[in-house]
Point group: C2
Chain length 345, copies 2
């Protein structure tokens, strides 16, 4: 850092240098020069002064006046770059960044809101730090319904990545169309001749799980198949449980997540059962590269979700009137067919 650390220049400094008033500087900077009847020559003088001083508008002052500062917040309810979830946030962020680049926005990653337990809060010490940004994209499997409701109640513009329903609040979100994807998979299996398709899920279900469940039901109904749902506690699944499940004559399995898939894969393996030889299987999430069986799965369009969330948010920002919440469902591809086959026997 060479040289003297001069005070950050303000509009007043620019004005002094250009020999005009602060109000004129503001007009020029905000492109209101023409309509304010400021001649080209003065505009140039101001612009030169801006360049010479390296003036940049103070974000706080700008948003205090109710103006945007081309800043989009990104808030997650846990650390954004955790080692063990590298892929998870990364893909969303990629999409978010791409769209921000395209629209000329910068991103604010809210990190200051983390409390001692590692959770992140929207409201902290009575302040809503998100207010610094023009609007925010919220991501997170976890969520704090009351914070979300409060944020929506304040009229703060935000878009949630992942479907979220909060009683009493209408929230804009972008989600993957799990329901349709799941129903399609059921249809596909039914088309191959499967008559008894099971769905294994976990006990603490949030919105995203409910979507898949609904899709499963729809798919079964459409194909005239029975619903065979198994709500399990991953800690208490053993051979006996598998026996009971297989005894019902299942020929195909949908599995809610990577953890469940890993568990079931181990049990099947111990039993000497093969996939898809003995049983077809599809996992309803993006599988991590390691630590999960290599089964057919869904491709959740995380990059697109990030992009669309930002696009949607910018739409909301452009609309000065309080617009109704908007919801976007993005199609969810089914990834390869390696563990889908005809029913055995």
């Amino acid at each position: 850092m060479a040289g003297v650390r001069r005070r950050v220049p303000r509009q007043a400094d620019v004005a002094r240098l250009a020999g005009v008033s602060q109000a004129t500087v503001s007009a020029v900077i905000n492109g209101r020069a023409r309509e304010s009847g400021i001649p080209e020559q003065t505009v140039r003088r101001v612009e030169d002064a801006v360049r010479q001083l390296g003036y940049v508008a103070n974000a706080a002052a700008r948003s205090l006046k109710g103006k945007g500062n081309r800043l989009i917040g990104v808030h997650s309810f846990e650390s954004m770059f955790p080692i063990d979830q590298l892929d998870f946030y990364h893909e969303f962020l990629t999409g978010i960044e791409q769209q921000a680049v395209a629209d000329g926005y910068d991103l604010v990653l809210f990190a200051s809101t983390e409390s001692a337990d590692g959770r992140r809060h929207i409201y902290r010490d009575g302040t809503n730090r998100l207010a610094l940004a023009d609007g925010s994209v919220l991501i997170g499997v976890e969520h704090n319904a009351s914070d979300l409701a409060r944020l929506a109640g304040e009229g703060y513009p935000f878009v949630h990545i992942g479907r979220r329903t909060v009683p009493g609040a209408d929230i804009s979100w972008v989600s993957a169309d799990y329901a349709t994807a799941t129903a399609d998979i059921v249809a596909r299996l039914a088309g191959l001749g499967h008559r008894r398709i099971g769905y294994i899920t976990c006990a603490d279900r949030v919105d995203v799980h409910l979507d898949k469940e609904a899709g499963y039901r729809t798919g079964c109904a459409a194909a005239g198949l029975p619903e065979l749902m198994y709500v399990i506690d991953p800690g208490h699944v053993d051979d006996a449980w598998l026996d009971a499940v297989l005894a019902t004559g299942l020929t195909a399995l949908l599995l809610e997540g990577a953890e469940i898939a890993t568990l079931v894969a181990a049990l099947l393996d111990a039993r000497g059962l093969t996939v898809p030889g003995d049983l077809s299987a599809v996992v309803l999430v993006n599988l991590p590269a390691v630590g999960a069986p290599r089964w057919s799965s869904l491709r959740i369009p995380r990059n697109e979700m990030g992009r669309v969330a930002v696009k949607l948010l910018i739409d909301l920002l452009a609309d000065p009137a309080p617009a109704p919440a908007r919801h976007v469902l993005l199609p969810c591809e089914q990834l390869d067919d390696i563990t889908i086959g005809p029913p055995k026997g």
Copy 2:
């Protein structure tokens, strides 16, 4: 965003409800009640009013009043979340985020500065968007010396990740101690009996490469070994080249990067030579999980570099006087020994 958009309450509203002045509300909210001599009873009245109205401090007004935004910028000279460089930025960002969390800062990822060619600039239209943040961390293998010099000249506080020397400017940076690590590896190989240790590098060397080169020279000098440097153009390396190199009696190789390592590995493989049986090899970068030979390599402490960069920046921010640039070298571990062995024969 449902419902009536009622005005967000301010301190004045709280004050009216509690029957005190706005200044009193401010004092209570900022924990200055005791020192301002406000009795417990009044504090409670104010707190009740805060709860009743759901008052939340306006972050913009707050930081307008204070001097900083508690915003740290992160600028890279290319897209921050590129698919093909996932690991590269990710680890730095992890460290940066961790330290930001620890110190209660938020991060601004500058995305708006990207031009059509995908490069990112500090100065756009003559203005410096980085000024939005209190200070910034710059990352990037590429760099624009004149932009850096200008930024330093303006007195803008920043820390570069990776050693950078720019003529005429004194730049704070955090780097890995490549020189020591490289010298150590040479010493280690010499200790195993190697007498002819080669160093293969590329033509367009920047600061980081020069550090390793210096370390190599130091190591050779300390062990009394000859310097055997090969500056190659990755596009023009073939069997003939390998013949020439091997003819000099090399028993160990240091390789500048993953690309060079991959290339040499292919040539050795074609020749039926094994590592470390025929030749010991160490790569002087973090190797990617795929697309490179699994050779011994350096572990570049990217996470720590990110953390220390933020810490250093916050130090600089805390110091109102123009501090001299500061430089930090972090130790660089050598990762496993799988391709290091005694010289053949």
